[in-house]
Symmetry: C3
Subunit: 326 residues, 3 copies
Amino acid sequence: MNKSIQFDAAGRLRHFLTIDGLNRKLLVRIMDVAESFSSVTEQQVKKVPLLRGKTIVNLFFENSTRTRNTFELAAKRLSADVLNVNIANSATSKGESLLDTIRNIEAMHVDMFVVRHEASGAAHFIARHVAPHISVVNAGDGSHSHPTQAMLDMFTIRQCKGDFSKLKVAIVGDILHSRVARSEILALNTLGAAEVRVVAPKTLLPADVSGLGVNVFHDLDQGLSGVDVIVMLRLQKERMSGAFLPSEHEYFTYFGLTGERLAKANPNAIVMHPGPINRGVEIDSRVADGPQSVILQQVGNGIAVRMAVMSMVLGSHGVANVGAAS
Amino acid sequence: MNKSIQFDAAGRLRHFLTIDGLNRKLLVRIMDVAESFSSVTEQQVKKVPLLRGKTIVNLFFENSTRTRNTFELAAKRLSADVLNVNIANSATSKGESLLDTIRNIEAMHVDMFVVRHEASGAAHFIARHVAPHISVVNAGDGSHSHPTQAMLDMFTIRQCKGDFSKLKVAIVGDILHSRVARSEILALNTLGAAEVRVVAPKTLLPADVSGLGVNVFHDLDQGLSGVDVIVMLRLQKERMSGAFLPSEHEYFTYFGLTGERLAKANPNAIVMHPGPINRGVEIDSRVADGPQSVILQQVGNGIAVRMAVMSMVLGSHGVANVGAAS
Amino acid sequence: MNKSIQFDAAGRLRHFLTIDGLNRKLLVRIMDVAESFSSVTEQQVKKVPLLRGKTIVNLFFENSTRTRNTFELAAKRLSADVLNVNIANSATSKGESLLDTIRNIEAMHVDMFVVRHEASGAAHFIARHVAPHISVVNAGDGSHSHPTQAMLDMFTIRQCKGDFSKLKVAIVGDILHSRVARSEILALNTLGAAEVRVVAPKTLLPADVSGLGVNVFHDLDQGLSGVDVIVMLRLQKERMSGAFLPSEHEYFTYFGLTGERLAKANPNAIVMHPGPINRGVEIDSRVADGPQSVILQQVGNGIAVRMAVMSMVLGSHGVANVGAAS
């Protein structure tokens, strides 16, 4: 895929589709802007007029109430108008093509599409075809990419740990099907994390895992040994009873994060999860609700990071001079 | 249930869950604030900036378009941002617990949950578990409580009749299953109504009815004799063909409000109903649309009363010194 | 139907239900106001405060995501509050009558109903019964009328062609079931188009077609000969396999707009379609996406025209002295 599609001719961020192709400076810039919005969400009046009069369309082909809610709140706190388009009920069900749907909504003078789609590459496809004044933000496409989730995780790690260069990070669970895992590995490597590990059974690892710049572990105790950050992935229920895994119970026995296992990591390691969590499947409740968990902090940071990305792609933050990866 | 949960340490109203435990002074204050908003809804610009930058979440576990609409309009007229969360489609259907759903949404830096739930006590449960900066407003929980409906009815009675101390009020219909009836009886007694009557067949009365501070009637003509206010309850269709009632027709014959029956009440008695009405079941159309009906006035008052409650629990009206019942 | 219902006692536009009964001056005024809003939608801040504090209710009894989106965006760009009421889920499904639903929502101090209904005359019915301060805009009723669609088409024609008095316009397709066709014929004749043609198979023409002020063609090549504007209608899928038409393929063979057929029209003729288009059924993709197509321009104009109508019926544009047709 052509990564430069994310930038305009002047090298400014126009779309936000994937971490791939973004350099360290830009990722840091996103976190810095998010930091400035973090204080906004703690004010009495949680609104800034940056995107007043802009129209942001939530184009969700796949149901994800939580992600849509955070994008909707982020847009409203930037004072934008939000249009939620439920594709299942829309003209596409009258036989209209995706491209005709996009063309029609963009003709309504909208400024941004936030796209969630079950097919990998859908956000890129739309970005390649939209009118020049429109930005596309990827809110998750198939098993490919979920870049705002990756950035809110990076932002949370920075809040808790500061410098990335000394951090060992373990990502645990269904790496194979996880758009979150792919985006996080890219972001962590770009930000210069000391070591990125993936911990998973062989059936839940992609074939090209060795090329991702990670160390692979099949044993959880070994994988967590001495790490500073643990990212647990959600186990999709549909994987549990099939070719991939024998059972929920079996999975928890080998890959569930318990207090005992957490003790293998550094004493001040943080525990992350993109949510919603399956208690007793990938994570024990005492760990999820325990002092090392930053799972709810991630949710709050999700708003700030999405406000940052939305305001940057619509050019309201003057991101000039922040170029693409060389 | 612990009633003091509705107040913060300084004795200010923080949640609005039930009429139980609220004193006369506070109920009068709610009506006074509602009165001030009443004029807002009749202005050209029906908006005040009181809750600008606040985020109000409509958390409806039970479908009720009408109640949600009035809360949504009330919030928008206070300039708040509104997020409608349809629980049926949300993460709870992915197996997430209610508490995890609540924790996640509150982590988005929201300020208020408006909760509608089919289980009695749901709003209290949520109020006991939310973060300190969040307020909960009960929009109806099971057969337990519907306090904003009770307050809009009190407000409507005050508009029409003034002083409560001379009023005889009859509440007619399915007292057993009605959250509205329970909340109204409490409010009327707290406001010092001269007499509160309930009129119902024995199968639709709760066992503890004698402890509610009401006079019980099983005959409609007797129950209406000399009253100033008649509150008709909605008969849920699912009660009509079962153990509770022989038939719709039978019910109307004995408990339906006709013009003839209305004549038993005081000549200037008002007729109320929380809506939606079942014409020809609990009320005759000529009465529902007649000069003594204030049913539509109740709807409009619903917005003003909800604006009052929302602004009070979010502390924008300086309700200090208005304490709980002793 | 009584057309004067669209005007108040002072002759000002109060409802917008049908083109029938509107004079040339008023149609021109709508286009002039839309022109002024056209520039708004191209500004950085696409908002004007004209309807701030007004509440507009989208009352859609029939699903039409696209039309609802354009009304919702138009309302938001006028700074109004929008309430979307999904009738399928609302109190009407609890057995409440349409009139009770309307009475209840109007009691919430709303200012406008935008009505879409599968029954012809529904918007008129509601307009006859709403409170004096409420305006009704018809967003499509059965096969009767779709006046904002007609006006956005007129506005698009004026943008492209200027003067109506020299224009030959062909409307092609299912005239019988089309509310768009009826409204357009009225508008074109009121604006003084030189010739209005309808082109359709006999089974898709209404019995009273001769009384509509059009020339009827059953052959597409003849119908398009020398015209300046071609309005293609959407063919409803349910018409295709029944008494009306033998097949999609057959329809396209005789009435589909191809490049070859388009060549029969004037060289600078424009091609219009209300959308969503059925590619390869009523129109060839090369024509739909070709240089003479103004289909997407229509969509954008839909916002401006709806902003115009909404602001005019709510009296914000001073439309005094623009009376009804004599």
